[in-house]
């Protein structure tokens, strides 16, 4: 395992996580992450040969529900849309994602 994380790696992970760190904060953040990741390295001392990974402590497995759509009432839809940052005519509005000026070039 690599023992230190670099600023370049932090920038790459931030890109995957859809986050951004200004240049002046990147150094501090990289140092903090590096120190925590160093702590993760402690796990190399544990012998885990032949151990099954454990990802949940539930006593239930593969619980399925019926795949059934439920129609929302007008009031429910309105309440949901009130939480949207921007809406128009019953739809959630987002910024334009296609720059048409570059289309067809």
């Amino acid at each position: 395992m690599a023992s230190k994380i670099t600023e370049q790696q932090v920038e790459h992970v931030a890109e995957l996580a859809k986050l951004e760190f200004p240049k002046d904060e990147l150094g501090k953040f990289t140092t903090q992450l590096g120190s925590i990741i160093d702590m993760f390295e402690d796990l190399t001392a544990v012998d885990t040969d032949g151990v099954e990974p454990m990802t949940s402590a539930t006593d239930r497995v593969n619980v399925m529900r019926e795949d059934k759509a439920v129609k929302a009432t007008k009031e429910e839809t309105e309440a949901l849309l009130k939480n949207a940052p921007d809406e128009d005519g019953g739809y959630i509005r987002v910024p334009v994602i296609i720059d048409e000026s570059e289309d067809g070039e």
Binding site: V13, D42, E52, I92
Partner: protein, 490 residues
């Protein structure tokens, strides 16, 4: 109303016998909160209008003898959805979020007639051990206002400790009910994973998160827990196991005679001297009441923190991808395309600790690191769970300290995430294994007068034995009767 003067059973009797009405009780509760909360800052949102209206409805309908919480004011941690009442998870990204449905636990409490007085402060998205990571303000410990209340359910613990309410809902992913209970001298129970529905709880680490209560007494905790427990068709990890009437077993006949208690040296030997002294006295007391106490070892305890922070952060990075600025929550103003909506909204909306954990999780799950970090931690999780199983082959309970220290000063650890994470060393292994565990007031530090919690860990779904031991300990000591004096005179 100062809830140090009563308990749930007494309050219920007073309501049924009309010594006090739900409306009078609710008004008195808000009067008390308003007198205290400028200093404590336990509440993010007060629900005064709706609570007053609800209390009147309950008075009009009357309170039956079997409706124990009808008309009783209680508080809810602000990462639990409440329909029509702002729910923020103490994050700027959800500052104006108004849920369109109630969490199952809230729905059950509504049906039981509780009065929701408001939403309590927490570390943003329940990520933290001090309630200093709230995007809005820091909650102060009622025992000493210069100290943290612990976290992440710090607002709920402080509200109970300040006598604002008899009980407040919390969530516990790595110790977030038990640590603040310990720091505030109140009772905090994290039930077995699957015992209580997580539907409507703002997700952090889904395989760890569990809802529970912070209360002043053990019996109140047992009463209230039974109200929210049980299978829920909306939560596919919620257990089908029947919910016992835990409180009914807590009476004069409850005993710890013959109870086999294991004390892991990891939960005792490394404590600060002042905490150790309190824990030793508590263990000696249980022994004097007829329990047997043996030293054991949970050898992988020290690996719990790194393994937990890999796994819980990985789950958090996945759960928090939904905050994308599109359908709800904060959206950055100047985003010009889709990618900018995501990146700017998340960067501006999340606080530092949340970003740190998303980064740790994304890193642990990323190509090239998955096996070395996530998979390794999941294997260590199995070994930690097996260590507990092995001890429980011969013992009824595992008991030790909840935290290695008492509440620290506000600001003392905030710039040192690694030290902050290490505070959870005695609580996270329980969440790794999905076990039930409770912190009960065990005494006070001679050094600084702050409360110390005793952690009682049980076998899966054996909350009863935990409640029994906690009840006997509480009934034969008087630590829970001492109230903080706001202003730091303790």
């Amino acid at each position: 109303m100062d809830f140090y003067q009563t308990d749930l059973s007494q309050l219920h009797n007073d309501l049924v016998n009309k010594k006090i009405s739900a409306s009078e009780l609710t008004k008195a509760t808000f009067d008390h909160i308003k007198a205290n909360d400028d200093q404590v800052k336990a509440f993010l949102t007060l629900n005064e209008d709706a609570a007053t209206k609800r209390a009147q409805e309950i008075d009009d309908a009357g309170i039956a003898a079997d409706q124990l919480v009808s008309g009783v004011p209680l508080a809810v941690k602000d990462n639990i959805l409440t329909k029509g009442l702002t729910t923020t998870a103490a994050s700027k990204i959800l500052e104006n979020f108004n849920p369109v449905y109630d969490a199952t636990v809230v729905d059950k409490l509504n049906q039981a007639g509780f009065i929701n007085v408001g939403k309590t402060n927490l570390d943003e998205f329940a990520m933290g051990s001090s309630t200093e990571n709230s995007a809005f303000f820091t909650t102060h410990n009622p025992w000493d206002l210069t100290r943290v209340p612990g976290g992440s359910s710090g607002g709920s613990a402080a509200a109970v400790a300040a006598g604002d309410v008899l009980g407040a809902l919390g969530t516990d992913t790595g110790g977030s009910i038990r640590m603040p209970a310990s720091f505030n001298g109140v009772v905090g129970m994290k039930p077995t994973y699957g015992r209580v529905s997580r539907w409507g709880i703002i997700a952090f680490g889904s395989s760890f998160d569990q809802v529970g209560w912070l209360t002043r007494t053990v019996k109140d905790n047992a009463y209230l827990m039974a109200l929210i427990a049980g299978n829920d068709k909306h939560d596919m990890t919620s257990s089908l196991k029947e919910v016992p009437d835990w409180a009914a077993h807590l009476n004069d006949d409850t005993s710890v005679k013959g109870l086999k208690i294991a004390v892991p040296k990891e939960y005792y030997d490394d404590l600060n001297d002042d905490v150790k002294k309190v824990v030793k006295a508590a263990l000696d007391h249980l022994e004097s009441l007829g329990a047997t106490v043996d030293k054991v070892s949970l050898p992988r305890t020290k690996y719990g923190v790194p393994a937990y922070y890999i796994l819980a952060s990985s789950e958090a990075s996945s759960n928090l991808q939904r905050y994308d600025g599109i359908r709800y929550g904060f959206r950055a103003k100047d985003a010009k395309n889709l990618d900018e909506v995501y990146v700017k909204s998340r960067t501006e909306g999340f606080g530092e600790e949340v970003k740190r954990r998303i980064m740790l999780g994304t890193f642990s799950l990323s190509a090239g690191f998955y096996d070395a970090y996530f998979n390794k931690a999941a294997k260590v999780r199995r070994l930690i769970a097996q260590d507990f199983d092995k001890v429980f082959e011969n013992y009824d309970l595992i008991i030790g300290a909840t935290g290695a220290t008492t509440a620290f000063k506000i600001g003392a650890e905030i710039d040192d995430p690694k030290t902050m994470y290490m505070n959870d060393v005695l609580t996270v292994p329980v969440n790794m294994a999905g076990l039930p565990a409770m912190s009960v007031p065990a005494g006070f530090s001679e050094k600084n007068g702050m409360p110390v919690g005793l952690q009682i860990i049980g076998k899966p779904f054996d909350e009863q034995t935990i409640y029994n031991a906690g009840y006997v300990f509480e009934q034969t000591t008087d630590f829970h009767k001492k109230a903080p004096k706001l202003g730091g005179q303790n």
